[in-house]
């Protein structure tokens, strides 16, 4: 019992052969275990044997000495025989027992078809092809993105006209996951960046003796730009990627097809609640981020510039007008829309494989961060033009 317990393959079995000339016949005496692991070591030899020139009318493979035998052993022998036959040398098997004969029959002709290989293109062609493909993907992406935007806006419109279509539970759960759960991260990061901006600003402005203006710097830069940008990027990384992975995994397991056949619209079920949740939560997160940034700046002002909290608040108050704050918050729903759209759309574009979930998630995050920044630049131009 203990002996048979050890895997036979571990006792280093060997497959080997030797040749004997008998008149015009070349006998190949096979011995050992012709199973997958040991066969590896004779494979090269057999290939050489099939190519070599033989001074014989017939080559006979003598199976009488073969111990264990499996499909890998069968294949290498069949292949060798077939190669010899193709060169006009007769080859056959002798003394195969019944089981071995059945295996020879099973491992049949079909396997001789050349393994399908995709030919390699020259490097230049590959590079050009990849550039071309990338451009097309970009163009397609833009078109599909616009198309998806349209579909979602239509779905949102339907939801507004028939509020009963809205999946309230789903909406609230996404608001919690995308918004509330992001609070600690958003608070911490905006606080730190606020402090860093104040600290760097103070050390530069101090050279002109204008360090009191640190407050204006922090307040304006944070409320207009940094607060919303930072929050949007955090949300894109946290929730945009989650949307893609969730929807992508559902797509892969055909859950979305199942939804459609049950008469449920994936737009209503999956996309609208997520996009809407982000559009509601991002402005709120931004607001809290703004406050935390100001507090971060305040802490630096109090500790390093020895400003009293009252003075900090008063200076901030005079630096901020409504639109300083309004500009930042106004941008939030638009950025949320972009993040939600890209997250959901990338998820729906997942194809069968697990890898495609990964690559779509990466693309979703990269694209949404890119677009958030582009959108911010466009808004900056717009607000300058209207003079806010």
């Amino acid at each position: 019992m203990a002996k048979t317990a050890i895997a036979p393959d571990l006792e280093a079995p060997k497959a080997s052969y030797r040749t004997e000339v008998r008149g015009r016949e070349l006998r190949v005496m096979l011995s050992g275990d012709w199973v997958v692991a040991p066969v590896l070591s004779v494979d090269d030899e057999l290939r050489a044997f099939a190519e070599a020139s033989h001074d014989a009318d017939e080559i006979v493979f003598d199976m009488s000495g073969v111990g264990r035998f499996d499909t890998a052993g069968t294949w290498v022998l069949e292949r060798t025989a077939a190669q010899l036959m193709a060169r006009g040398i007769k080859a056959r098997f002798d003394k195969a027992n019944e089981a071995q004969q059945t295996l020879f029959d099973k491992v049949g002709e079909g396997a001789y078809a050349d393994p399908v290989r995709i030919p390699d293109e020259p490097l230049v062609v590959q590079i050009l092809a990849r550039i071309g493909a990338a451009v097309l993907v970009l163009a397609d992406g833009a078109r599909d993105g616009l198309g998806f935007f349209g579909t979602v806006v239509a779905a949102l419109g339907r939801t507004i006209r028939h509020p009963s279509r809205l999946r309230v539970v789903s909406l609230i759960s996404h608001m919690e996951r995308a918004g509330f759960d992001a609070l600690p991260l958003v608070c911490l990061l905006t606080f730190l960046i606020g402090a860093v901006v104040a600290q760097q600003g103070a050390s530069q402005l101090a050279r002109f003796g204008a360090d009191v203006f640190t407050v204006n710097l922090v307040a304006i830069i944070f409320l207009r730009e940094v607060g919303i940008l930072l929050t949007a990027i955090i949300v894109a990384g946290r929730s945009g990627s989650a949307f893609t992975a969730e929807i992508g995994a559902m797509k892969m397991r055909e859950e979305i097809d199942a939804m459609r056949t049950l008469g449920l619209d994936p737009m209503d079920m999956l996309v609208v609640p997520r996009v809407l949740a982000l559009m509601i939560m991002l402005p709120l997160l931004t607001f809290i981020g703004d406050i935390m940034g100001l507090i971060g700046g305040g802490v630096v002002a109090v500790t390093q510039l020895h400003m009293s909290p009252g003075v900090y608040i008063e200076r901030a108050n005079s630096a901020i007008v409504f639109w300083t704050f309004g500009v930042g918050i106004l941008k939030a729903p638009f950025m949320a829309l972009v993040i939600g759209l890209i997250g959901c759309q990338s998820g729906l574009e997942v194809t069968g494989s697990a890898e495609s979930v990964g690559s779509q998630t990466t693309r979703s995050v990269v694209r949404s961060i890119f677009l958030v920044i582009v959108l911010d630049a466009l808004f900056a131009m717009f607000f300058t033009a209207v003079g806010i």
């Binding site: 019992m1 203990a2 048979t4 317990a5 895997a7 393959d9 571990l10 199973v35 997958v36 692991a37 590896l40 494979d43 090269d44 035998f69 499996d70 499909t71 890998a72 294949w75 290498v76 292949r79 089981a99 071995q100 059945t102 295996l103 099973k106 491992v107 049949g108 079909g110 396997a111 078809a113 393994p115 399908v116 290989r117 995709i118 892969m252 194809t351 069968g352 494989s353 697990a354 890898e355």
Partner: protein, 256 residues
Amino acid sequence: MASGEAIIEVKGLTTRFGDNVVHENLNLEVRRGEIIGIVGGSGTGKSVLLHTILGLKKPDAGNISVFGLDLTTMPDDERRLQERRWGVLFQDGALFSGLTVAQNIQVPFREHLNMNPVLMDELAAVKIEMVGLRGSAAVLYPSELSGGMTKRAGLARALALDPEILFLDEPTAGLDPIGATAFDELITDLKKTLGLTVFMVTHDLDTLRATCDRIAVLAERRVILVGTIDDMLRSSYPWIREYFHGPRARAAFAAR
């Protein structure tokens, strides 16, 4: 390596998921070189039993030995050596979605053997042909396969290393009748030629009749009966009676 010796032994197995006890004091012995069919109603724990024997789920009580070795207490690296001695076809195929059919079949070659790529391609083609797939299926990804093709590709991967034990979870579900018959023949041929032991979960009465040496019936959290088809037909246990004397069974056994 006498046939008849127990190659898988399950003793006093209990498994549960939380409060849901799936097996309780279950005993089963599989002999070397036999094809054993596991039957039982949906949700009686056939797949869970298979997963437990494979070591994918820890038993809550009892012993499982495969090849005479207790796998539950074995260190991981020794386990891995034993694992290449079996092949598994999961209920839903479980092909690697990022690899083509040929690459899926080659995974065990890559992992366990230092094989040259040409031979690897050839052997993949051999297996693909053996399970009745067209050669052109080699370059397809799992998402591009039909349900039946997925089953066949999974079987080809399970057979890659010519294992000693083959575990099959509903291998003929989703195959057309011609394919299912070809599958039955393939399994019996492999059993005869390679001395394969097959542990097969199946509901397919034709496969049970055509291939299985013995059948084990799972009910009430344990194996209630192990025996040949004739034993099953003679049993007076209500579920077994219904299973083996129902209209479908009559059609399948009419040939006998």
